[in-house]
């Protein structure tokens, strides 16, 4: 990764840092574990078990790991707690959690982590701590399960676009393809573009990884970062389209059976392709940024 510089994203202690400062935070850590253990236990046995949300534990782990990396900065920033604001934010987060628990809405439960963490940091340290930890906190957004209604609607459209574009491009390239909704015929084979192929979920995890990449790369130019963020979704879409097209071509040339096990492999490839594309785009931008400046 270009520009990856650990020291740059773990800010040096700006206040007075004491050894073992984390010990004083132990009650909070224990409290948070008690509070969220049922949420995570529930997620692990339901949503995370499904293919669509398998990125959940990865997102959570990365977020916690980043916060842990930032611990020195967080425990040592100058004390400027915002008691009122922090209290209100924390209570708001806890109410979200309670509502989520009572109504069995994992969306609210997982989303509540963001105001809860924000509130705790405001109470303990103040806005400066938020500036240090904004990324891992916001990163938790990616693990929020989106309601089925929204997902299904977007997936249905995505699926149609992907099928349409895959068919059109292969047709232009001269392959015998025909399409009916999301059922694509190529040669003697018939393929069904399933929900997973629409790649909304993989677009989700790709966006998360893209965001992490941008955060770690820490490009100094704001414009560069904005362009990179905006490019994540189109890149994820193109990567998915490529995956569907490649699967179609493999089926056409090598038959049904080879495509079946390649299907899973293609899932990994799409991920790597997208990250490579993003990295390439990042370098390209850096190159042009230099030229503009120079």
């Amino acid at each position: 990764m270009p520009g990856l510089n650990l020291e740059r994203w773990v800010p040096p202690p700006s206040g007075t840092y004491r050894e073992n400062a984390l010990l004083a935070w132990l009650p909070i850590i224990i409290g948070l574990i008690i509070l969220y253990a049922p949420t995570y236990a529930n997620l692990a046995s339901t949503l995370w078990a499904s293919e669509e949300y398998s990125h959940g534990p990865v997102i959570a782990s990365i977020s916690f790991w980043l916060i842990f990396q930032l611990r020195k900065g967080l425990t040592s920033v100058l004390l400027a707690p915002k008691l009122a604001l922090g209290g209100v934010t924390l209570v708001f987060g806890l109410l979200l959690l309670l509502a989520g628990r009572a109504l069995e809405i994992p969306l609210l439960e997982t989303a509540s982590q963001i105001p809860v963490a924000t509130g705790v940091l405001l109470l303990m340290r103040g806005p400066q701590a938020l500036r240090t930890a904004w990324f891992p906190i916001c990163f938790l957004l990616f693990m929020i399960p989106i309601p089925g209604i929204v997902m299904d609607t977007i997936t249905a459209h995505l699926k149609e676009w992907i099928s349409f574009l895959a068919e059109e491009s292969l047709y232009i390239l001269g392959f015998p393809v025909a399409r009916q909704g999301v059922v694509i015929n190529i040669g003697q084979y018939q393929l069904f573009v399933a929900d997973a192929c629409a790649g909304l979920y993989s677009m989700f995890s790709l966006s998360a990884m893209g965001a992490l990449f941008i955060y770690l790369a820490k490009r100094l130019s704001l414009l560069h970062n904005i362009i990179l963020v905006l490019s994540i979704l189109p890149i994820a879409f193109i990567a998915n389209l490529l995956r569907v097209m490649i699967l179609l071509l493999i089926t056409y040339h090598f038959g049904d059976s080879s495509a079946r096990w390649l299907h899973d492999l293609a899932g990994v490839t799409v991920f790597l392709t997208a990250l490579l594309m993003l990295s390439f785009f990042d370098r390209l931008l850096a190159f042009y940024c230099k030229r503009w400046k120079g």
């Binding site: 004491r18 004083a24 409290g31 959690l97 309670l98 009572a102 069995e104 109470l123 309601p147 999301v182």
Partner: protein
């Protein structure tokens, strides 16, 4: 008081302890609020096949005729665990065929029947689904149903469907969300059904009329408690 902490960390520790108390209180409250009770229509496990009699009035099940759209989303493990579907094709003396499909979801707070909604599972198979309209059938009280018209090449399929949540018949959308929230606030987990009736018929109006007479015959032939599983207690 506390000796294990290095000097100067006490203010932090005190504040952290107050936050701990807040967090612990919240988790205690969450534990109490968590719904446990399962509102099943019968209180016992539902056998969907009992809702599909082999014969009733002029209708009987046509064997080996199960060529209708199924929900495609079955990859999800929890989906498999918590919901089941049955289906059958009925035929009457006039040769009218009705495809009936029932999906059952044990936990309707989590919206697991969603994927079975015809709007989605027909579209997913390349059907063009149009003509969404809601009506109230007057069989055993008002039964809200949604009418759809799906077409794929020469196959034209009028669809009538409705859902239940707990002991209420509802249509997807706000009324269903409201019913879900009501159950959640009462601390109960309702179950639910999705009942779908369709036929191959290019004239939607004729199709819906056949559906209505089928629904009427079907509900009439079921014992009251079974019927209430389908229409709710209204």
């Amino acid at each position: 008081m506390v000796k294990f902490l290095p000097k100067g960390l006490m203010p932090d520790f005190r504040r952290a302890s107050v936050i701990f108390i807040i967090l612990a209180t919240a988790s205690f409250a969450a534990q109490i609020l968590q719904p446990v009770q399962q509102v099943s229509l019968e209180g016992s496990r539902l056998d969907l096949n009992e809702l599909l009699p082999d014969h009733f009035l002029e209708w009987s099940i046509e064997k080996d005729h199960l060529t209708f759209a199924r929900a495609q989303v079955q990859s999800n493990k929890s989906e498999k665990l918590y919901s089941q579907t049955v289906g059958a094709t009925y035929i009457n003396q006039r040769g009218e065929r009705i495809m009936l499909s029932i999906a059952y979801g044990a936990n309707q707070l989590a919206d697991r029947l969603h994927a079975h909604r015809p709007e989605y599972c027909y579209r997913a198979q390349g059907f063009v689904v149009s003509g969404e309209a809601d009506e109230n059938l007057t069989v055993f009280g008002a039964l809200p149903v949604r009418r759809l018209y799906a077409s794929l090449n020469n196959r034209k399929e009028p669809i009538t469907y409705w859902m239940t949540i707990g002991d209420q018949a509802v249509l997807p959308g706000w009324s269903r969300k409201l019913a879900q929230i009501q159950h959640g606030l009462r601390g109960s987990i309702p179950d639910g059904l999705l009942i779908r009736i369709s036929s191959i018929e290019s004239n939607a109006r004729i199709g819906y009329a056949t559906h209505d007479s089928f629904i009427n015959d079907w509900l009439n032939s079921l014992p009251p408690d079974r019927r209430q599983q389908l229409t709710g207690k209204s």
